[in-house]
């Protein structure tokens, strides 16, 4: 009797201990990104977003038993290096991978993860894509292991061209992009949507330039001026956008820029006062979005790193991951992926967001914003201490921003 009592006490203690272990789960996320090279600055900055998101939205600060740990791995922006790092991550037993800068890299990661998961049942990997917005990833190339937290470039261009449609002064549009899948998709969808919405607008230029190679954009601007362009649509990011706008300012180019990434580190500085009311951006969030729930994240990030916070996708990736691990009560990839598909939450501005199960694309609100003098109504925060910031000129609810998908999603295991 005495012995059995002792045994049951031990059993109870052990079960408590086990429960304790189950409650405190540590989830490692491999952050595979180019943190050196031409776009290294952007990668470094994104890493800070993820580390900050993990600190605020998992573990102790978030009152969660799930702690997300970010493992940075520098791919130098190269697909080959990224593949080698994916192998390293799986060898180390990491089940979650995130990447975003460059759809060219994301594409090979998706393929490699699909293959890996087929060959290694029970050791699957989930890809949390926070910025690679090639629409193919949620259409023809969709995968049950891929979740995208940014809005696809088709979604973004739908929003951007909706706004452009009403700008009666646009007559000649010039499209310029980096020569890889993303730039090509932007060009394709811009032409397609504009032809539908404003057939009177002429596309006077359709240019692709090598990614991260051009340091002097003056010749491109001269070409735009020669073509009488009054609007430029570009999917450029990082230094490719900063240098483009800087060259436009220097050459006195008067047209407007319709961009995706004017808020990315370094670019607001390059736009500066010369770009006031001439640069528009489509984004799923910005610091001056109305009743922004993430204002304290924005200010906290700026206080900590003295850099702008803009990648809400990093925060959403961490939030969805934590909630999915809690729901699945497991840190294995397959049950977490099942839990994440179709999961609903409140977004950064209080809107309802959903990780659509049919294609793995986060359904979220979109903003079209204008670069203008900060301090006035609707422009509380400036960007990179320039005195200028983003103001909402159009808001699309998640239902308005949604795009249909052609994805035939394979069955989730």
């Amino acid at each position: 009797m005495k012995i059995s009592l002792k045994a049951s006490a031990i059993a109870v203690a052990v079960s408590f201990l086990a429960a304790g272990v189950a409650n405190a789960q540590n989830v490692k996320v491999a952050f595979i990104e180019g943190m050196s090279g031409p776009f290294g600055g952007v990668g470094q900055n994104q890493l800070k977003h993820f580390q900050y998101a993990a600190e605020r939205f998992s573990g102790k600060q978030a009152n969660s038993g799930v702690t997300v740990e970010i493992v940075p791995m520098d791919s130098k922006g190269s697909p080959q290096e990224a593949l080698a790092l994916l192998k390293k991550a799986t060898d180390e037993g990491i089940h979650f991978v995130t990447q975003g800068n460059g759809s060219n890299v994301a594409g090979v990661l998706i393929d490699a993860i699909n293959k890996h998961n087929e060959r290694n049942p029970g050791k699957e990997v989930v890809f949390l894509n926070y910025a690679a917005i090639d629409p193919d990833f949620t259409n023809s190339k969709c995968s049950p292991w891929h979740f995208r937290f940014d809005a696809g470039s088709d979604m973004k261009l739908e929003g951007l061209t909706n706004f452009m449609m009403d700008q009666k002064d646009i007559k000649n549009v010039y499209i310029i992009g980096q020569n890889y899948s993303h730039g090509q998709q932007v060009s394709k969808f811009t032409k397609e949507f504009l032809a539908k919405k404003r057939p009177d607008i002429k596309v006077v230029g359709d240019e692709l330039h090598p990614m991260g190679q051009v340091k002097d954009f003056a010749p491109y601007i001269a070409k735009m001026q020669a073509a009488n362009a009054d609007a430029v649509v570009t999917g450029n990011w990082g230094s490719d956008l900063a240098l483009l706008i800087r060259a436009a300012n220097a050459a006195g180019f008067k047209g407007k820029f319709y961009t995706f990434y004017a808020g990315v580190i370094g670019t607001p500085t390059a736009i500066g006062a010369a770009g006031a009311d001439r640069v528009e951006m489509v984004a799923y969030w910005h610091p001056n979005s109305a009743q922004s729930q993430f204002e304290s994240i924005y200010t906290g990030f700026k206080a900590k790193f003295n850099e702008e916070f803009y990648t809400v996708a990093a925060v959403n990736a961490v939030r969805f991951l934590v909630a999915s691990v809690e729901k699945a009560k497991s840190t294995d990839a397959a049950p977490v992926a099942r839990a994440m598909a179709g999961m609903k939450m409140k977004g950064a501005s209080g809107e309802d967001i959903e990780m659509r199960a049919s294609d793995g694309a986060l359904q979220q609100a979109l903003y079209v914003v204008n670069w203008t003098k900060a301090g006035g109504p609707g422009v509380k925060f400036d960007a990179e201490n320039t005195g200028y910031g983003f103001q909402t000129v159009r808001y699309l609810m998640p239902s308005q921003a949604a795009r249909p998908t052609t994805c035939k999603m394979p069955k989730r295991i």
Binding site: G41, P219, I221, A222, A250, G252
Partner: protein
Amino acid sequence: MSVLNGVSYGLLLFMLSAGLTLIFSMMGVLNFAHASFYMLGAYFAYQVSEWTNYWVAFVVAPILVAVMGGLFERYVLRKTHKSGHVAELLVTFGLSFVILELVQLIWGRSAVDYKVPAALDGSLFKLFNSSFPEYRAFMMLVAVGMLVSLFLMLKKTRIGLVIQAALTHPETTEALGHNVPRVFAMVFAGGCALAGLAGVIGGNAFITEPGMAQAVGAIIFVVVVVGGMGSLAGALIASVLIGLMQTFAVGLDWSFLGGLSALGIDVTPDTFGYPVWKLKLSQIGPILPYLLLVVMLVVRPKGIMGTRDD
């Protein structure tokens, strides 16, 4: 307009490669850290212009870079000299990483807001409907000024004479009582100052960020190789050539596709090799210099004005 854009970019490239080719012809050291000195020039100029103004930075930044270059030559490069060229190459290679990390530690990894001075921030004249920025004209002016003074110094002054003598006959020059190592240090510092000066005027014309050294690093080697190792005139020709080539390529929408259809051959997306045929010259513009490098090495390995026959 394209000519002006091309020439101004080419002249900036020349300022960068002049120092490199000078150092190479003097000391036989291919300085891998040369572009890093360009970056340092831009960052120093940014910092100094934050404290004082642009014109102080314009003078002070190249001097600071020269001092650093001189110290590096005196205390590091000279010591590795006896271990041969590979060691020298490696030590400059290492230095480029050290400078990169230091810059990132001090100024951060993102771009800094190094502005064109207000006095030069305007358009000089308008051609068709694009305006030519004053600052580009200033860039050209500085580069040409530097070119002329460099030429005069090398050809007309005593220092230039000693430098040229030390270049070809170091032992004899030393025997004549000249301090050849000090001449080497001076040339190295001078070359670095030129790179620094290029950074001062290039940093705000383009962008001042830690990636800037890497961005120009490859292209200045192309300039030096195409121009002919160690030839200043060759470097000038090659720089302007590459500047013009890149600028004009952007303006031309030629492709094989257009050429073939002009010949009456119909090319559709189904034709074999379509992605190659539809490539426009403007798309491949930025890789043309590297193409030129390969062609040059095959056809005329010593470069346009090169004299080395080994």
